[in-house]
């Protein structure tokens, strides 16, 4: 048994990708973006995350390629360090300790041994641009305290600083001022816009700036949507500017293409505008990018652009304005109405995503799986518009059904309400709209739940609404002689003295339905829809309601607004116990009797885990978060943990995730987050991230052979490590198309055996035998496999690698190879 550490609250993925501009590698193969305390390296072709650069202790605030070495990357962080990385291997090369909070980073090819950073030294809101001299000493950690001041009183955002014309000057904007500092002359020019005194120009403050790479031209974006192009700014009096106006709202970011022939701009309209030759007439658009464009960046090779969006995604766009890849993180743009849910099929976390969408987010891979468009209407991104909001969603019948509620309320009386029911289609592997119900209730729907009992023959859904009714919807047969169809209809409408229905909940076996009407809880028989009994505690409106599970299924729990947690016994119809607890979140664990409750106090949030049968909590953790916790959910574990300590047993079969008000997704863990990612999966990613195009088949083969010839000489000296890539069984398995492979059941044991490290050492007798067989095979196999067998022979001398390689029995190997030969013979003929 491993020693158990304390349970800590850890951040689990879903960090922002759009905090700063993304940076392309020199060959446009990779794109880097800051993500919380890490820097992530993505492939621009496959959208896969290739590396995560760990090392900073605080938020990373800026990244730049090393202008002197394109295989290195600088990053700066609020922890006061600048780090230099080798991004191909994901290795930290050097750390420069500056000592104060760094807010942005800039590099210049001309200034070889220094970088520019934004710091705030004295007052909290006064920021300075300084250059930091980086010493060339070879040690891992270097002090870099040599700061030379460049510009004062600037904006904190790196969007407001730009270096232009090969580092001749730097432009900075703030409010109504544009200041340009010339490095050679060491002078600053300042230009002021007619400010807020004039009502016409009330909203023309600067928002961002960009400099032409080769000419003396500065582009600045403004609040009112205008872009100004400044020229002749060497002279304080003779300067000119021209206006480009298309955006109707704030210009969020600007970028010049590498050659400077076109200017890219973006804003809340979520349209990328390309201004050709800096004229108003020649514009090109890439519309409907989904959300506000926050940042635009251009690859050094000039073939790709990328836009970062407010919904936490990066879109990689080709030079001809065609989106080619989307890197999507957990969407955190908007408030979460649906709460956290778990899709029973994919075990993905489901919550509000892009406007009008539900996002399915894989917690294991920290990656968005897909977006389900619920509202299916054109999204108009405009300030002050009342949008249709997806307010409720629920999964039912083991993921076969999904119910969603959307509403839009402009005025008190004008409520638009729609309920949609989606059926999972096995063929298309997605949800398909089955039934659309207009105005299912007269007022907002407060709760939605499916009957998830295993034996229930008819899917049942209950909606509770502020109009004082709860409705039971059932699936009915709607087929006629022309087609088979199912649809949902209302089966029963219930109410209790016209009180607002606030919560509903089915018992585990589906026999009872609990509906809370403000202060009163009513229990209904789900077969006859008769009112069985009522509970009332006179302790404020019921906020949460849930039944106990498994051995505690005779208990019903309710949390009220006045901070009382009640537990009723359904057999005796009496209050079992109550406790004073201001419960914000109450979630039952689907795999055990445990119930997690998060309470809110002025200091922070506390977690209580308890069983309904005993009022004494199993586990208490104080101060899990300083903010208010909004939602929580238990996620069943794939592999159960085995904590023996009683306090941690509740984490054995499920993991608890919760979302705070600032939308950070947190969980409880005893391990550090790095350990969670399995190393094998990462390696596979790196190898498999190359696309297999027809060109790869033709050219890649030649190159491989050449490479291997080169490697052979090296390999003789090197000791081969038992890497997974080198095991032939695995590569055979991965490169053979699935449709020609034998059944998985047949391959499984063979495959797993090949991965095992055998303890026993081979007797000397065995080795020659093996070699014999190899030779035998060599004669019968085509030349395609020759290089492989050679390698085996090479490594058999080295001793360390042989154990693994020889694990695979010869006959199995032959069989696998046969499959491969059948399929790829035509390529050899090319």
């Amino acid at each position: 048994m491993v020693e158990e550490e304390n349970i800590r609250v850890v951040r689990c993925g879903g960090s922002e990708l759009n905090f700063r501009r993304a940076v392309f590698s020199a060959d446009s193969k990779y794109i880097f973006c800051v993500s919380g305390d890490f820097v992530k390296v993505y492939s621009t072709v496959t959208e896969e995350c290739v590396h995560i650069l760990h090392g900073h202790r605080n938020l990373v605030t800026g990244i730049q390629l090393n202008p002197n070495n394109h295989l290195q990357l600088y990053s700066c962080s609020l922890d006061g360090t600048i780090k230099l990385w080798d991004y191909i291997d994901g290795i930290l090369i050097k750390t420069f300790i500056v000592g104060c909070k760094l807010h942005a980073l800039f590099t210049l090819a001309q200034a070889e041994d220094s970088v520019f950073v934004i710091v705030n030294k004295e007052k909290p809101d006064i920021f300075q641009l300084v250059s930091v001299k980086l010493s060339k000493s070879s040690s891992q950690e270097v002090e870099a305290k040599e700061l030379s001041f460049v510009l004062d009183y600037i904006n904190q955002s790196p969007k407001c600083i730009a270096f232009g014309n090969e580092g001749v000057y730097v432009a900075a904007v703030r409010e109504f001022y544009l200041s340009v500092y010339f490095f050679k002359k060491k002078t600053t020019s300042r230009f002021t816009l007619s400010s807020s005194r004039n009502k016409k120009h009330a909203k023309n403050n600067f928002t961002c700036v960009a400099c032409h790479p080769t000419e003396d031209c500065i582009a600045s974006g403004h609040m009112d949507g205008k872009i100004r192009l400044w020229r002749n700014f060497y002279d304080d009096k003779k300067y000119t500017y021209t206006c480009l106006h298309w955006h109707h709202d704030m210009v969020m970011d600007l970028a010049f293409s590498v050659t400077g022939t076109s200017l890219l701009s973006g804003g809340r309209e979520s349209v990328l505008v390309e201004w050709r030759d800096a004229t108003e007439k020649n514009k090109e658009f890439l519309p409907r990018l989904g959300a506000t464009i926050e940042h635009i960046s251009v690859s050094p090779a000039g073939d790709l652009f990328c836009t970062s969006h407010s919904d936490n995604k990066i879109i990689i766009i080709h030079r001809n304005l065609e989106a080619s890849a989307v890197i999507q993180g957990l969407v955190k743009d908007r408030s979460i109405f649906t709460g956290l849910m778990i899709d029973p099929r994919t075990k993905a976390l489901v919550l509000n995503g892009k406007p009008g969408h539900l996002q399915f987010y894989s917690l294991q891979n920290d990656k968005q799986l897909y977006n389900l468009d619920i509202i299916q209407q054109e999204y108009i991104n405009d300030y002050g518009l009342i949008q249709i909001e997806l307010t409720k969603a629920a999964f039912g019948c083991f993921g076969n059904w999904l119910a969603t509620v959307e509403q839009r309320q402009e005025k008190e009386t004008e409520l638009e309400l729609q309920m949609k029911l989606w059926m999972y289609n096995k063929k298309t592997q997605g949800f398909i709209l089955n039934t659309k119900i207009n105005m299912p209730h007269e007022d907002c729907i407060t709760a939605l739940c499916f009957c998830n009992a295993e034996k229930s023959e008819q899917p049942t859904l209950v909606t509770a609404s502020k109009d004082g009714y709860f409705k039971v919807w059932i699936l009915t047969d709607d087929s006629d002689i022309y087609k088979k169809a199912v649809g949902w209809t209302c089966d029963f409408v219930g109410s209790y003295h016209k009180y607002q229905a606030t919560n509903c909940c089915f018992s585990e076996d589906g026999s009872l339905l609990a509906v809370s009407f403000e202060e009163i809880v009513t229990i209904w028989d789900s077969v006859t829809w008769e009112l069985k009994c009522t509970f009332c505690q006179r302790a404020g409106k019921i906020r949460h309601l849930c039944f106990g599970r498994l051995t505690c299924s005779k208990y019903l729990l309710g949390a009220t607004e006045n901070g009382i947690l009640c537990c009723w016994n359904l057999l005796s119809c009496a209050l079992e116990w109550n406790a004073k607890l201001n419960v914000r979140v109450m979630e039952p664990d689907p795999n055990s009797e445990n119930i997690a409750a998060i309470s809110q106090s002025s200091v922070g949030s506390d977690l209580f885990v308890f069983k309904p049968s005993e009022p004494r909590p199993l586990y208490i953790q104080k101060g899990i978060s300083r903010e208010e916790v909004q939602w929580g959910v238990f996620v069943p574990r794939d592999v159960p943990e085995s904590f023996t300590s009683e306090a941690y047993q509740w984490l054995n079969r499920s993991q608890f995730y919760f979302l705070t008000k600032s939308q950070s997704l947190l969980t409880f863990s005893t391990k550090s987050p790095e350990e969670k990612l399995t190393p094998t999966s990462k390696q596979l990613l790196a190898e498999e991230s190359l696309p297999t195009t027809p060109f790869y088949f033709i050219l890649g083969k030649h190159r491989q052979q050449q490479d291997e010839k080169l490697n052979e000489t090296l390999e003789n000296e090197l000791v081969q490590l038992p890497l997974t890539e080198n095991i032939p069984a695995i590569s055979e398995l991965l490169h053979t198309p699935a449709h020609v492979l034998p059944s998985a059941a047949f391959l499984c044991s063979m495959f797993v055996n090949s991965l095992l490290l055998s303890k026993e050492t081979k007797s000397a007798k065995e080795i020659p035998e093996d070699v014999d067989m190899e030779e035998e095979k060599e004669s019968e196999d085509s030349d395609e496999e020759n290089d492989f067998t050679e390698k085996v022979q090479d490594t058999s001398n080295t001793g360390l690698g042989e154990d693994i390689i020889h694990q695979l029995s010869k006959s199995e190997e032959k069989e696998l190879r046969k499959f491969r030969k059948i399929d790829y013979s035509w390529i050899a003929a090319l």
Partner: protein, 517 residues
């Protein structure tokens, strides 16, 4: 990236009968032609050969009508008493009929006098038919007997005396010249084989059998009697396949559609029902003015002829399809433009790159896509706004969602604003459109209040709208009163329980009152 999403047009359930392929097919007939006969029309039979004339048996006459003629093209009236069951031979050249006096007469279509007279029945002969080999006639009579006659020498070949009551219906197999079935008032349907001297199969219908029908394959038998239509599987030895009870009076006649996919039954309850022969569900039903005695379908279902007890013959012809083509068609691109490049076969090494299919957008969607908000619904064809108000309402809703409804409605001239007002007047009182349109009406009143009184046309429309709103408010008040009364009744009737289970409809739109200003 994601393309433009078209405006979601709200669909509303269509009240009344569901529109299916069958309703479309069976409603695609012209208004019926009514022909008055001398007495109740007991049998209608179509000639199986072109020009598909039909013989109508009514009272003591047999009339033969052409397809579109309303006057008989031929009449056989040499009957002393009522004639029954005039039936064509398969080649359409001979006609046989029974009569009340027990005689069976065979006519040539071109002649007038009977070719043969088969004497032997002692009572009225209600059913006659030709066998599949065309040289024999089967007849059933009220003397409980079934007889088989030879045409060339007009002799009786066989007599079956197995029925114990009137034999009122029958038909011969179309495949086997020796097989025929009869239905009788003794509640049985019997199948006879001319090669043996007794029945080979007998099924119990349960009611006096009024009509029998064999499927073209001979495998299924349909019998009608009482309120039931029953289908029997002959290949399983007369097992009951399905029993249909869709009429509420005696079913008198049966008929198959030409494709064999649909079964029709006529009844004294003045209805003809159409069943699917795969699921035996009613897919359509026709109404007639009087009780139906006979029913026939022409070749390819071109004509439905129904004879009724009051002597009226109702003839419905199918609408011709060619008529729709008469509209002047716009010149379309040539066929080759559409198939250009489509017929290229993929070679072995080719890589197929699909271009995303261009989505077709409606006019209003194209305008909305480009934010041309004030063009939208007035550009819609006026008939279109009348026929499909839900599209216009959906566009108004979409504009409201985008926050530009006021901009779209402002700045209209007299003609345009009266268009909008016309639309409002027509649709404002419909509960499904009311919430959206009331909002639009409010905006219009707000915008155009300062200029009121400048145009008599628009003023009139405003007054009309006001009247409508007042009427609607009165109506709502009445409804609320009624609802109150109903609530009281429910309250007194309800058992003593703490809960109320009411399924009353929503109380409409009280917001109406706001427009009054």
């Amino acid at each position: 990236m994601a393309g433009y999403k078209p405006v979601a047009i709200q669909t509303y359930p269509i009240l009344g009968e569901k529109i299916t392929q069958d309703t479309l097919y069976w409603n695609n007939y012209k208004t019926p032609v009514q022909i008055k006969e001398f007495g109740a029309v007991s049998k209608v039979d179509f000639s199986p050969q072109p020009p598909y004339n039909y013989a109508v048996t009514a009272s003591s006459r047999i009339h033969i009508y052409g397809r579109y003629s309303q006057e008989p093209i031929k009449t056989f009236s040499r009957f002393k008493d009522t004639a029954y069951c005039a039936t064509f031979r398969q080649d359409g050249r001979l006609l046989v009929a029974g009569s009340e006096d027990g005689g069976v007469q065979l006519f040539d279509i071109s002649g007038r006098a009977p070719l043969r007279q088969f004497e032997g029945h002692t009572k009225a002969v209600h059913t006659v038919d030709f066998t599949a080999d065309k040289y024999h006639v089967v007849s059933g009579a009220d003397d409980y007997t079934v007889k088989l006659w030879d045409i060339p020498n007009s002799k009786e070949i066989l007599t079956f005396k197995e029925h114990s009551d009137y034999v009122r219906c029958g038909c011969a197999s179309k495949l086997n010249p020796d097989l025929f079935i009869t239905g009788s008032y003794d509640h049985t349907v019997k199948m006879f084989d001319a090669r043996t001297s007794e029945s080979v199969l007998s099924v119990e219908h349960g009611q006096p059998v009024e009509s029998v029908l064999l499927f073209p394959s001979g495998g299924l038998l349909v019998s009608a009697g009482g309120r039931y239509v029953k289908v029997w599987d002959m290949l399983k030895g007369g097992q009951l396949l399905v029993s249909l009870k869709n009429h509420h009076k005696t079913v008198t006649c049966l008929c198959l559609s030409s494709s064999g996919q649909r079964l029709l039954s006529g009844s004294l309850d003045r209805k003809v029902k159409v069943y699917s022969t795969t699921s035996y569900k009613v897919v359509h039903s026709f109404d007639y003015a009087a009780s139906i005695l006979s029913l026939a379908l022409a070749h390819e279902d071109e004509t439905i002829v129904v004879g009724m007890t009051n002597g009226i013959l109702s003839v419905k012809h199918r609408k011709s399809e060619a008529k729709k083509e008469s509209l002047p068609r716009r010149r379309r691109p040539a066929y080759r433009t559409f198939i250009k490049g489509k017929n290229y076969m993929k070679q072995r090494d080719d890589i197929l790159i699909n271009r995303p299919a261009k989505k077709h957008l409606e006019l209003y969607d194209r305008d909305l896509k480009h934010f041309r908000i004030s063009k939208h619904f007035l550009k819609n064809h006026p008939t279109c706004t009348i026929k499909t108000p839900e599209i216009t309402v959906s566009i108004i809703k979409e504009l409201n969602r985008r926050g530009v409804l006021a901009n779209a409605l402002a700045g209209r001239d007299e003609k345009e604003i009266s268009h909008v007002l016309n639309f409002l007047i027509r649709n404002l009182s419909q509960p499904r459109f009311a919430p959206v349109l009331i909002n639009a009406a409010e905006i219009i009143i707000d915008i155009y209040l300062p200029v009121i009184g400048q145009s008599p046309v628009v003023d009139k429309k405003f007054l009309l709208l006001q009247g409508l709103v007042e009427k609607e408010i009165d109506y709502q008040r009445e409804l609320l009163e009624t609802l109150g009364m109903m609530d009281m009744l429910f309250a007194t009737m309800r058992r003593k329980e703490g809960t109320s289970v009411l399924g009353h409809t929503s109380d409409g739109f009280p917001e109406n009152k706001k427009i009054e200003s």
